[in-house]
């Protein structure tokens, strides 16, 4: 794994060391280490139950870790939760929008709760950025899934927090809705915001992320760029397989699954 030696991030946007969390006898996190450099999009990839949401909730001060430390833009989540909450914004797994309010009222409410001047201007600006201006005065109950997600992400951007965490932002969306959300995330990163996004969709990580960390059975087992991850499979493969390995191949290989239908790669998997 020397190829994947971590970047020496002196001042990471997110720094996690030795994070542990159990629910009763169930060990969900068994020592997670992860650094996210400022201004990058990092995808936290893992199957259901791998511990993605638990990690994210600890970062957002919603859960206390059993052991280990986590910092967000320099502030520690347990000892300085108030500062962390100023610097991070979480978009949870289910669009946490108020259906009875309009899109504009949702954004205005969040602006007031972040104690910003001019909540209405902030709301109008974000509605425009997320192509929701026309829908802004309609109740959210009338929105499509993609529109709700865009509003959800827009609400996370109120007050320009340094770090945005998106927990499975496209789960349950149709392809159109997914593309809308991807565009929104790309715009975020272009504006210099650090994004940590969890996903179980490999294509999503491949499309969006500067770096990809794979969380498996409570540990980060791989952390690198897409190119670095692809190099994990021996180059010999490239010589007799026309197609480059997709991230899906890499994912299944590093978590130790044998892919029954894909006989070409069985050799590599056994060698690991």
């Amino acid at each position: 794994m020397s190829a994947l030696a971590r970047e020496p991030a002196a001042d990471p946007a997110i720094g996690i060391q030795g994070l542990r969390k159990s629910y009763g006898d169930l060990q969900v996190l068994r020592g997670v280490d992860l650094n996210v450099a400022r201004g990058k999009i990092v995808a936290l990839l893992g199957s259901n139950g791998a511990g993605k949401t638990t990690t994210v909730k600890i970062l957002a001060t919603l859960l206390a870790p059993d052991a280990g430390t986590a910092t967000v833009a320099g502030a520690e989540v347990t000892t300085d939760a108030a500062t962390v909450r100023e610097r991070i914004s979480l978009t949870g797994q289910f669009a946490a929008v108020d259906e009875i309010l309009t899109g504009r009222e949702n954004l205005t409410l969040i602006s007031r709760l972040r104690h910003l001047p001019n909540p209405r201007e902030i709301a109008d600006d974000l509605l425009a950025r997320f192509s929701l201006t026309e829908a802004g005065s309609r109740r959210v109950a009338t929105y499509s899934g993609g529109m709700r997600r865009r509003l959800d992400i827009a609400m996370s951007l109120v007050g320009d927090p340094e770090v945005i965490v998106l927990d499975e932002p496209t789960t349950g969306l149709d392809p159109q809705g997914r593309r809308e959300v991807w565009d929104a995330v790309r715009k975020l990163a272009a504006g210099g915001t650090t994004v940590l996004l969890t996903t179980q969709y490999l294509e999503e990580a491949e499309q969006l992320a500067d770096r990809i960390a794979i969380l498996h059975e409570g540990r980060i087992i791989v952390d690198g760029t897409l190119v670095e991850l692809k190099n994990l499979l021996p180059p010999a493969e490239v010589e007799y397989v026309e197609k480059q390995p997709s991230l899906e191949d890499v994912f299944l290989a590093v978590i130790g699954h044998t892919n029954q239908t894909d006989t070409d790669q069985t050799d590599q998997k056994e060698r690991r």
Partner: protein, 257 residues
């Protein structure tokens, strides 16, 4: 963070009040059942009920109204549990908890909304009572005292409602807890004098909080001295308020804050 506690609570209260305004049926249904009880008891059962001397001189609606007002509150607070439950399930409480807002803003916003919505329902019910012939010679101070007792009782029961709102696993469970509260007035001095009840029932009726609160409000409306019942009512209400407040906040902090 504490410097924003009040403005955060007000912002979130404004949000919940908008929910109430946009589904006014929650206020109407809150007022409807107590009004139906009032019609039923005044016009169907009332003629057969002997409220005795002194307790409620005048028409039966005068005797009945205090208990009806408590039923109004008991049915109104179930909407608090319902709205809080939906907020918790929808993830919006988690969103608020991950933001730099006062930790107590979310529950207090729901509680204040409950007080406002219940006051509106109570005003509607009192209005209907006047149409049915309710009369009182109570002065401003007595009315203020009645309002104070009712608001304090609303606060206490609303904090009780926060508990199922946070812990229920279904919408039905979140609001079903209020049914026993709605029926407590039937086992009190609200509809008939407790002297007419058989032994054990009478003992229960005379030692449960509703009787003390009903007797206090009745005394205020009929311009009589409130006596020791007032202190019993106050003690019960404050005790319920404190226990529910502490329990609800412990659950909230453990699960969400």
């Amino acid at each position: 963070m504490t410097s924003h506690a009040v403005s955060d609570t007000l912002a979130l209260t404004g949000r919940s009040l908008r929910h109430v305004l946009r589904s006014p049926d929650t206020i109407i249904t809150t007022a409807l059942m107590p009004i139906a009880f009032m019609l039923l008891f005044v016009y169907v059962f009332g003629g057969a009920i002997d409220t005795g001397q002194g307790a409620g001189a005048g028409s039966y609606v005068n005797y009945l109204l205090p208990g009806i007002l408590l039923i109004t509150i008991a049915s109104g607070i179930s909407y608090t549990a319902y709205r809080l439950f939906l907020d918790v399930q929808g993830g919006i409480v988690e969103r608020f908890s991950s933001m730099p807002i006062g930790r107590s803003a979310v529950p207090w916003a729901h509680v204040l909304t409950s007080v406002v919505a219940n006051v509106v329902s109570l005003v509607i019910v009192v209005g209907v009572a006047f149409l049915l012939g309710f009369r009182t010679g109570a002065g401003v101070l007595a009315w203020l005292a009645v309002a104070g007792v009712l608001v304090l009782f609303t606060l206490a029961l609303t904090w009780v409602a926060v508990i199922p709102g946070l812990t229920a696993s279904s919408v039905d469970g979140a609001s079903a807890f209020s049914y026993p509260l709605i029926f407590l007035p039937f086992l009190s001095s609200a509809f008939v004098p407790t002297e007419s009840m058989p032994g054990p029932l009478r003992w229960f009726a005379e030692h449960q909080p509703v009787t003390a609160i009903v007797d206090t409000i009745r005394a205020l409306f009929t311009e009589q001295a409130v006596g020791s019942q007032f202190w019993v009512a106050l003690a019960w209400t404050v005790a319920i308020l404190l226990v529910a407040f502490v329990t609800a906040n412990l659950i909230y902090r453990r699960r969400l804050a």
